[in-house]
């Protein structure tokens, strides 16, 4: 073998020998570790078996169900997750999120939120000028509400009374428009003042104030149309402007001359927190449309003020709401405008009790020299959020007739979806 070959091979052999020794050492080390692991896993297995025995779990794999049926015990109705059942440990080291599957009934894909509110009113005294019943289920309101798609919500309020079934409101509300806009299309209560936008089940009295029934008829300004509102940035002040256009047809109040003769309504609302316990709410409204019969312009201008007080730490026991609204009605062809108002306060003096008073008055639009005035006292008992029993003593001084003293009683109850608390 030539020397030079040896020169090449020797280092190779030497390296191979070194590698060999290295491998042996590593193998030994691995074997030692494996043995240690084996011992450890044995110990762990023993520990698990011991724990299982302690917890009453059979160490062996589960066997076929026993034939002895006397050993059967009740299955817990709703088995909770293992995490929920494990006794709490002092250490929080292994805590991780618990994935909660939504409840089976949580889907609203097929069924909207459904609610029904019944309103039973009993009436006694006075000359019964409106032909009131001694007792009647005055209205049952069916409410349906759900998301239409990611961009809109839909709401329907259907009123059932003894005479008729009517869609009181039914609209789509677009909730994700740009530029701080929100829009509604359909039939809805016009944003005129406060009372006009309030459903009967959020009223603080059994009846509506004279100004509303005289100026707007029984149903208020409710019509089909489009409503657009915008938030106006004003620092800590909340300012919202609303512009609306309606078909212009409200029984006895507005009647359009053709399809281009619309009813327009504008509303501006400003709200401010005085403190965390109290706040002030201002509104100004203007609505104009066409009078029935004469075809002249019929317009309303209104302002409303609301003061609310609710001490946060006692919020379920005490609160006060004081509200006033003044509306002026101008009719084309009438020299004088008619003025109407109401002012009232509701004081919650215990968790389920509210006392209220209201004064109201209105000049009749067709003859403003005749005016009606009323005073009311209310006492409300709310057994829960979903029912109320209310009494109202009402004295009305009709401008062209007698003074009527009346007592009204109301029982109101709702079932179904939990609606938002009125604000």
């Amino acid at each position: 073998m030539p020397l030079f070959v040896l020169v090449f091979i020797f280092p190779l052999v030497a390296t191979a020998q070194a590698v060999d020794e290295d491998l042996t050492r590593k193998l030994d080390e691995l074997t030692r570790r494996l043995e240690a692991l084996d011992r450890e896993s044995g110990a762990i297995r023993a520990e698990i078996d011991a724990l299982k025995a302690k917890a009453g779990v059979p160490a062996a794999p589960a066997e076929a169900p026993a034939d002895d049926l006397t050993q059967i015990e009740a299955v817990p109705a709703a088995p909770q997750s293992a995490a929920a059942e494990a006794p709490p440990q002092g250490s929080l080291a292994g805590v991780d999120v618990v994935p909660n599957a939504p409840a089976a009934g949580a889907s609203k894909l097929f069924n909207p939120d459904i609610s029904v509110i019944g309103n039973v009113v009993s009436h006694t005294g006075g000359d019964n000028p409106e032909g009131r019943d001694s007792i009647a289920l005055q209205e049952a309101e069916l409410g349906l509400e759900a998301a239409v798609d990611p961009y809109a919500k839909a709401k329907f309020f259907i009123g059932y009374s003894e005479e008729e079934v009517a869609v009181e409101e039914g609209y789509i509300q677009f909730v994700s428009l740009p530029w701080d806009l929100s829009a509604k299309v359909g039939k809805m209560k016009a944003s005129f003042g406060k009372f006009n936008t309030t459903h009967f089940h959020s009223w603080s009295a059994i009846d509506e104030p004279l100004v509303s029934s005289t100026f707007f008829g029984g149903e208020g300004i409710t019509d089909s149309g489009v409503s657009v509102s915008k938030l106006i940035p004003a620092g800590p002040l909340f300012v919202e402007a609303t512009a609306e256009a309606f078909r212009g047809s409200v029984d006895g109040v507005f009647d359009p001359n053709g399809t281009s003769d619309l009813l327009y309504n504008a509303h501006l609302r400003a709200y401010k927190d005085i403190s965390e316990n109290s706040n002030l709410d201002f509104g100004a409204s203007y609505a104009t449309g066409t009078l029935p019969e004469t075809g002249g312009t019929n317009s309303f201008t209104g302002v409303d003020v609301t003061y609310r007080w609710k001490p946060l730490s006692r919020s379920i026991y005490n609160s006060l709401l004081a509200r006033g609204e003044v509306i002026v009605n101008d009719r084309e062809g009438q020299n004088d405008s008619a003025l109407g108002y109401y002012a009232g306060a509701d004081y919650q003096f215990a968790r389920r009790w509210i006392a209220g008073l209201r004064v109201d008055g209105v000049e009749r639009p067709d003859d403003p020299s005749i005016s009606d005035r009323g005073q009311s006292l209310m006492l409300t008992f709310r057994p829960s959020e979903f029912s109320l029993i209310r009494g109202q003593y009402r004295r009305t001084d009709y401008g062209d007739g007698p003074v009527a003293d009346e007592l009204l009683l109301q029982v109101q109850f709702g079932i179904g979806a939990h609606g938002a608390h009125p604000f």
Partner: protein
């Protein structure tokens, strides 16, 4: 020490980072706000709608809250219908599609915590203000506080991927501190294991499970239903026969009824604060628990 160093480093690194505006977080309750702050640090601003001394079921849907939600990038809620009476109209009118349910900007923390009192039969309102998906007062338990924090970390990291490391470091720090604190709290209540207590509302179900106390009855005959004379009569008899020493009352309930029950039974009324900010000085989750556990342990002595 290493953790502190790491945090300091991250803070410095953060200062040099893109200088992004803090993420605007709005929570429905003060406890969620406190835990969000633990995770989010100075990379978020957080405001709570409800105050700690207020019954969270009965918050008013004020337009000023609407303005808060309008500007929020993340709206975090307790869920389980706790806020059903006031939050939906606020979200609806907020003009902020980012925080509608189902969006990344809406976080319902009940989806990742341990929930108790899940109804085992069909529920209806004859049972009072029952929560059909389980008890919503789940935050009064440090294990769930960590679960809330983990969910905040995950969501904040999704909204601000650049700060994920920062949020994770803060989460880990919170976990360690909560674990340490819980050892202290567990030790303080250890002598009173299985002690029988009465609470006003079902606000402490997760709490008593963690610390192994036994609630034998409630001042409310059914959730959300004010106490009736006949229920109070039964309650007094039961408390006497079982030797109940303490009666826990949330700060927003009237003390008149609990005091009269206490007088007749010799039990002690303890005002327990379910939420951060329930009283001056209860500024975060830790001070809240320190105070509650101390008061409870003294009452059970």
């Amino acid at each position: 020490m290493r953790r502190t160093l790491l945090l300091a480093l991250m803070l410095v690194a953060g200062a040099f980072a893109a200088g992004a505006e803090p993420l605007k977080v709005v929570t429905t309750t003060s406890d969620l706000a406190s835990i969000a702050k633990e995770v989010g640090g100075d990379r978020i601003t957080v405001e709570s709608i409800a105050r700690g001394y207020q019954d969270p079921h009965f918050v008013e849907a004020k337009p000023s809250f609407l303005l808060l939600i309008k500007n929020a990038e993340l709206l975090a809620v307790v869920g389980l219908e706790l806020e059903i009476g006031w939050l939906p109209p606020l979200i609806e009118q907020s003009r902020n599609a980012k925080v509608h349910p189902g969006s990344d900007g809406y976080l319902d923390l009940s989806t990742g915590v341990e929930i108790v009192d899940k109804p085992t039969s069909a529920v209806d309102r004859s049972m009072g203000d029952i929560h059909a998906m389980g008890n919503p007062h789940y935050w009064v338990e440090p294990g769930n506080a960590i679960r809330i924090a983990i969910q905040f970390r995950d969501r904040l990291a999704k909204l601000r991927p650049a700060d994920e490391g920062y949020f994770t470091a803060r989460l880990n720090d919170f976990k360690v501190r909560a674990n340490d604190a819980n050892k202290r709290w567990t030790a303080a209540l250890a002598p009173y294991k299985r002690a029988k207590i009465v609470t006003y509302h079902r606000s402490w179900q997760n709490f008593v499970k963690r610390y192994q106390l036994e609630v034998i009855d409630y001042v409310e005959p059914k959730p959300g239903v004010p106490p009736s004379p006949s229920h109070l009569f039964d309650l007094v008899q039961e408390m006497k026969s079982k030797g109940v020493k303490v009666l826990l009352v949330e700060p927003y309930f009237d003390l008149k009824t609990p005091n009269s029950v206490a007088e007749k039974t010799g039990a002690k009324v303890i005002v327990m604060y379910p939420s951060v900010g329930g009283a001056p000085g209860l500024d975060d989750y830790f001070t809240l628990f320190d105070r509650n556990i101390k008061a409870l342990a003294e009452g059970l002595k």
